[in-house]
């Protein structure tokens, strides 16, 4: 069953008189539970596509359907709510909130969601922190963690609200090989155990190797879309 239908999405950025075409009519259908990599050289439109799928940016034309409903016909508030309830992000440079502890960082999406009691939030956060192997570090601040640990916290933060889709922009780019393998492994486990859909952009061949579907972008268009078993 398709979760997200991206139909003929185009994106053009304007800077004064100049215009840059980032996407030139992209069509992709993302199924529930996919573990999908978007690859391609720098400037091929990977991040733009992820931003549009995550409703952080609007396409110049085309449509993105979620369960058959057009996302970019929604108001700003509805989009914000959709993002809050269904999408989670993992960033290349982790982007943890430096003044919050590991537990508080992981709780953050739940706090924004306002669906759970304080106790429920703490329980959910600790469970997911345990699952990424950082149970002993729940009360530490980000500055006390290594890069790999920070990215694991970012994964925990993304997964804590059981999102339908996790969008990750170059999640292993700043990590050494061993740590990158750990992070990929955690993402795969979550994908397998929770059927969480992962869509990630990457230059990293290690990540590509683990992806079950690889979409290759070039100059804003899909060059290749291959599925693996």
């Amino acid at each position: 069953m398709s979760l997200l239908d991206i139909k003929n999405v185009k994106k053009e950025y304007r800077k004064g008189d100049k215009s840059v075409i980032a996407l030139r009519g992209v069509d992709i259908t993302i199924e529930k539970g996919e573990f999908m990599a978007i690859v391609g050289p720098s400037g091929s439109g990977k991040s733009t596509l992820l931003n549009i799928v995550g409703c952080l940016d609007a396409p110049t034309s085309g449509s993105v359907l979620y369960n058959g409903r057009e996302l970019f016909g929604m108001t700003e508030q509805q989009l914000s709510n959709y993002r809050r309830d269904n999408i989670a992000f993992i960033f290349q440079s982790y982007n943890l909130i430096p003044v919050l502890t590991v537990r508080e960082n992981v709780e953050l999406p739940l706090v924004i969601e306002r669906k759970f009691s304080k106790q429920e939030m703490a329980k959910k956060a600790l469970a997911v922190i345990e699952s990424v192997g950082l149970g002993a570090m729940a009360d530490r601040l980000p500055r006390e963690l290594s890069g790999g640990q920070e990215q694991r916290v970012a994964i925990a933060r993304a997964l804590v609200k059981d999102p339908l889709v996790v969008l990750a922009d170059e999640p292993t780019a700043n990590l050494d090989s061993a740590t990158a393998e750990e992070v990929i492994s955690i993402m795969q486990t979550m994908n397998a155990e929770r059927s969480t859909t992962f869509v990630f952009s990457t230059h990293d061949s290690r990540m590509e190797r683990h992806a079950r579907r690889i979409v290759t972008l070039r100059d804003g268009a899909i060059e290749k879309d291959e599925r693996r078993r």
């Binding site: 931003n51 995550g54 952080l56 940016d57 508030q77 914000s80 709510n81 993002r83 809050r84 309830d85 989670a88 992000f89 960033f91 440079s93 982007n95 909130i97 430096p98 003044v99 919050l100 508080e104 709780e107 953050l108 999406p109 706090v111 924004i112 969601e113």
Partner: protein, 418 residues
């Protein structure tokens, strides 16, 4: 809200030096204001006290005719016919503490070499010292009720004429019947008050002396009323105004002036001083606003990526904005609490020890305010609270513009920001 509050509070501690600098600016504003307000309130109280105790009383009652020509101190318009019912009415009024009669006249004082114009005041020594506070300012002796050949004169006047206690001096004046008279009096005492008019040209004599010298026949041109001063000045003023209204209603042929009417000039200076205090406070608050505006703006700039992350997770722009507004508010609170505490400490010194303004600025400067000696501060809790609230409010408002800017940042731009 809890998480927003937590992030805001912790971010204040994240850039300690910057936060402390902004808070100190606000605190400095508060300290300066509290100190200035205390000193000015103290000066006001002392000026008003001196006005009441040295020349005006709480109320001064004269005839309408006298009031119209009061600049010439006419002896013809006396209170004689109204005196008995007036004294009876004031005697019944529980708001009135003491009453004394006075008569003022114009004269000249001479040491045979020099002649100086003076304003004479005829007093009832026993009753007068219950309404006015001349005695504590006196060198020499206060006169007895029956004293007929004695004067008390202002200190500057004594210096100008080169005379002192025990010396004889000649006083010239027109009697009640407009005939010129001159007589020699012994100087019983010299007054050194905070009222420059008394010091420069004040001459006091008893009714016994004036009956001989001015043919006064115990006539008084004014009745001065003292009222208890326990309450604050605004409350005291209201009570005095109420008594004024009652007497004026019952005695329409008389003119009742309060110390507020008589000291309108002093009150005008008081208002001007207060305005200058607020201008200083305003300047300091503007500096604080710029400081906090800058602090919050820097904070927004440094945390653009964080803003992007929070927005990406679905945090509403209004919550992002609230977070930065709270940071401004907490900085203001920090400065406010610190400023109020430091201000209270500094003020304690001003209230208990005072500042020797006369020594610093000279007697001419203090005399223009109608005061002398040390200036003592006053605790003005409503003003302190108001300025504390103002400081916090200003700090909060200073954070609003950068906070709104933060809430409008595009998520994708924020996440790309390096």
């Amino acid at each position: 809200m809890g998480m927003i509050l937590k992030i805001a509070l912790r971010n204040i501690g994240r850039h300690k030096r910057r936060t402390v600098l902004s808070a100190v600016t606000i605190a400095a504003g508060l300290v300066v204001f509290i100190y200035m307000d205390s000193a000015l309130t103290g000066v006001d109280r002392m000026s008003v006290d001196n006005l009441i105790t040295l020349s005006a009383g709480a109320l001064k009652i004269q005839t309408l005719a006298y009031d119209k020509e009061k600049e010439s101190f006419p002896l013809a318009y006396t209170l004689d016919s109204a005196m008995a019912p007036l004294l009876a009415a004031l005697g019944k009024d529980k708001r009135v503490a003491h009453v004394t009669k006075r008569t003022q006249f114009l004269g000249q004082l001479s040491n045979y070499e020099e002649t100086v114009p003076v304003i004479g005041t005829v007093v009832d020594p026993a009753a007068d010292s219950l309404v006015f506070g001349l005695k504590p300012c006196l060198t020499g002796s206060y006169f007895d009720t029956g004293a007929t050949r004695e004067l008390i004169i202002g200190g500057q006047l004594a210096r100008d004429l080169g005379v002192g206690v025990g010396d004889n001096i000649t006083l010239y004046a027109l009697t009640k019947y407009d005939s010129r008279n001159a007589d020699v009096f012994r100087i019983a005492g010299v007054l050194s008050t905070a009222d420059p008019a008394i010091n420069r040209s004040g001459v006091f004599m008893t009714f016994a002396a004036a009956n001989d010298f001015l043919d006064l026949e115990n006539s008084a041109t004014e009745l001065d009323v003292a009222m208890p001063r326990g309450a604050s000045l605004p409350q005291f003023s209201r009570t005095v105004r109420a008594v004024q209204k009652d007497i004026q209603r019952d005695f329409p042929s008389l003119r009742v002036n309060t110390f507020l009417d008589i000291g309108a000039g002093v009150m005008e200076i008081t208002r001007a001083k207060r305005a200058s205090g607020f201008i200083v406070m305003g300047i300091i608050l503007i500096i604080a606003v710029v400081g906090i505006f800058n602090t919050v703006f820097m904070s927004v700039y440094e945390r653009i990526r964080e803003i992007g992350v929070l927005r990406a997770h679905g945090m509403k722009p209004s919550d992002i904005s609230l977070m930065f507004v709270l940071e401004g508010m907490f900085t203001g609170l920090l400065g406010g609490v610190f400023g109020a505490a430091a201000g209270a400490l500094v003020n304690l010194q001003l209230v208990t020890k005072g500042i020797p303004l006369e020594k610093i600025a000279g007697s001419m400067a203090t005399a223009s305010y109608g005061i002398a000696g040390n200036v003592y501060g006053e605790w003005n809790l409503p003003a302190m609270s108001a300025v504390f609230i103002l400081g916090v409010a200003v700090a909060t408002l200073a954070g609003v513009i950068p906070a709104r800017r933060a809430s409008k940042i595009q998520v994708t731009e924020a996440l790309r920001f390096n």
